[in-house]
């Protein structure tokens, strides 16, 4: 099978070729997309299906802290929680990863150890992405050197909105190279579009394809730092993109909605979107993640409710 890059060599030969390719993708009817997302939101997930969905959702969380006030202590608490989300019930699955700034990667790595919880680091001048390319690459390099398993980069939205798609493409390619480790392995790359700033669904579809042909391992909605973050419609649209991309190239790419998903009910709705759009192959934390922090405690409370038949309240889950 040809590599993704060579399959799209024509499309990425010049700025105008890339523009023609991206603008040749089918349009998105906003009303229809939102109606479909809302319709899937009415699925009623009960009993065994609910228990399955809650555990799956916990295992898909990138437990995140991205604050100026982050300290080693805060990151250690987060890492411990990721490994053992519910200290009263060791059957609770661990989260997929913890997600931190590059300077906290070493601390996070030390905390999660060989538990299987991965360490993801935002990079490339997160969240605005407004820095010179060499600064962004150095940011990525630092995180990878400190042991990050995954890199969450942001695209240059300014370049995208100005129509400089090739610049965005080349930057993603360069970051992907910076994800390589000395031993020849590579950190998985998540590409954040900041869908709230791209604003239109057509733009989100184009950004998804741009990210995928540039070599993203995951496409991710948002940073969590702007007004509109992950929504059912924008995630549905990105799930359609990875589905279509695999049909065309055979390459499977992950999806990560991030920001604003706070309740179990919301998380289950997203899993329904995954199940009925991309399909069951994506119902695995290698292919779908939630970028979230407070979601985990709500999932744990729902999990306890299913196990015991009653709600225990926020003092029966850990506050970190």
């Amino acid at each position: 099978m040809p590599t993704t890059a060579s399959a799209f060599a024509d499309a990425t030969a010049s700025d105008s070729a890339l523009r023609r390719f991206l603008h040749g993708l089918p349009g998105v009817d906003a009303v229809g997309l939102e109606a479909r997302a809302a319709a899937l939101g009415t699925r009623s997930i009960k009993t065994t299906a609910k228990a399955y969905a809650i555990d799956l959702a916990i295992s898909m969380i990138d437990l995140t802290t991205l604050e100026g006030a982050d300290t080693p202590g805060k990151v250690r608490a987060l890492g411990a929680k990721a490994v053992h989300p519910d200290p009263t019930d060791r059957t609770t699955p661990r989260t997929a990863a913890v997600c931190v700034y590059p300077d906290m990667v070493a601390t996070a790595k030390e905390t999660v150890g060989d538990s299987g919880v991965l360490v993801a680091s935002v990079a490339t001048a997160f969240p605005a992405g407004r820095a010179a390319l060499d600064v962004k690459l150095a940011d990525v390099g630092d995180a990878v050197a400190a042991g990050a398993d995954e890199i969450d980069m942001v695209i240059d939205r300014g370049a995208f909105l100005a129509g400089k798609y090739l610049k965005v493409y080349e930057e993603i390619r360069a970051v992907k190279v910076a994800c390589e480790r000395a031993d020849g392995t590579r950190a998985r790359l998540k590409v954040i579009f900041e869908t709230g700033e791209l604003s239109t669904y057509d733009n989100i579809r184009r950004a998804s394809w741009l990210g995928m042909i540039a070599g993203a391992d995951f496409i991710k909605t948002s940073t969590g730092k702007v007004g509109v973050n992950a929504t059912p419609p924008n995630t549905l649209l990105m799930l359609e993109a990875v589905r279509d991309f695999r049909l065309q190239t055979g390459v499977q790419i992950g999806v990560k909605p991030a920001g604003g998903i706070r309740t179990s009910k919301d998380a289950v709705k997203f899993l329904v979107l995954v199940n009925e759009t991309a399909g069951p192959d994506w119902l695995d934390n290698h292919w779908f993640r939630f970028g979230a922090s407070s979601l985990l405690n709500d999932l744990l409370m729902q999990r306890q409710k299913l196990a015991t038949g009653r709600y225990s309240g926020p003092d029966y889950v850990t506050v970190d």
Binding site: P26, G32, S44, K46, A53
Partner: protein
Amino acid sequence: MAEMTPTTNNPFAYAPAPESRSVVDIAPSYGLFIDGEFTEAADGKVFKTVSPATEEVLSEVAQAGAADVDRAVKAARKAFEKWSALPGAERAKYLFRIARIIQERSRELAVLETLDNGKPIKETRDADLPLVAAHFFYYAGWADKLDHAGYGADPRPLGVAGQVIPWNFPLLMLAWKIAPALATGNTVVLKPAETTPLSALFFADICRQAGLPKGVVNILPGYGDTGAAIVAHDDVNKVAFTGSTAVGKEIARTVAGTEKKLTLELGGKGANIVFDDAPIDQAVEGIVSGIFFNQGQVCCAGSRLLVQESVQDELLDSLKRRLTTLRLGDPLDKNTDIGAINSAEQLARITALVETGEAEGAERWSAPCELPSSGYWFAPTLFTNVTQAHTVARDEIFGPVLSVLTFRTPEEAVAKANNSQYGLSAGIWTEKGSRILAVAERLRAGVVWANTFNKFDPTSPFGGYKESGFGREGGRHGLEAYLDV
């Protein structure tokens, strides 16, 4: 009932999520509703109504004969004098009250309708019942504003309206008929379909609950002969019928030469036209709701897919993939997308037409799903390699069966879409606004949807061209059918 999921090895199998039947209390038997009272048929005849999903008998219902029709028309005539003399604002109060009671009892009515009709609870809950209430609210608003409807000052009602409705949207079709009739000051004698009489009888109870004067609404369950007696009754001033074109033609013959005003809403073979620049994912959703909403038992269904040849393969692949995710099964389960076919008779008709399609050389594809062992079921099906000459491209199937045809240019699309004895609905899918306007203008269909399908609203007139009937229901236009103008 067997649990059905399209993908058997999917770890995320949705557990059953049935809506509770206990919210509705179905009596073992029901009478006719005449002059504000439930009564037995003069000849004592009854018939059974069954749940098409399980073939379980739900209730036994009185069957109206000619003597009952006469009694009901007399009651309606008597009530007409006072009802039509009421100020519009007073009639509006009753209609608003009915609308509110429907909202309050919507869960009960949704479960009832799903049991009697076989359609999924998702549809009765999210489409039928909200639209029923909206229709009464909308026409309640017109009752005191008829002077401003565009028919001159103080337009007069016609008198007694005889109304015959189908089984595909039992309560919604009742609302389409009764709400404008009452708002304009007419009284009604309505016959629900023989396979779905229950929601109309519950509506009779709602009329009593709302304190509606006796005789203003009369409900006569029965078969075709009951409907024929209503249509032929000398003292009926207005006939409104929704149903098959064959019966519509008979009614037109009966009414010809009388002073009865007639509106007919009949069959259809709606063309859903997908251009190569369409929003493909949303077009797929629109095609699905166009033909599989209510198991395709919709007169305005988009039963002919006209797809531009250059995107045919891509679109059909997407469509088939989407159809494999449809969940067919227990209509009361909140996750069911495809319910039961309404009757054994309708199932036989669908089956026969599909066999004809295969015999004529069209290529059949059905979604892989297990059908329950009891009840009336048909898997979502599509035909490719269909041409204008195929029966499945011309005849109304009234089931979950889509015929796929192709075209090369907008001219060809319009010509093929219009090449039908029917003209009820059409859909256009393109991201190009100018094309929507240019094509819509040339389609001979009463409703043209752009980048959507099967969207209904009480403010929007609905009706057909050609053998799809005449007259409009809904909106300001819907008043005309019930006014002496």
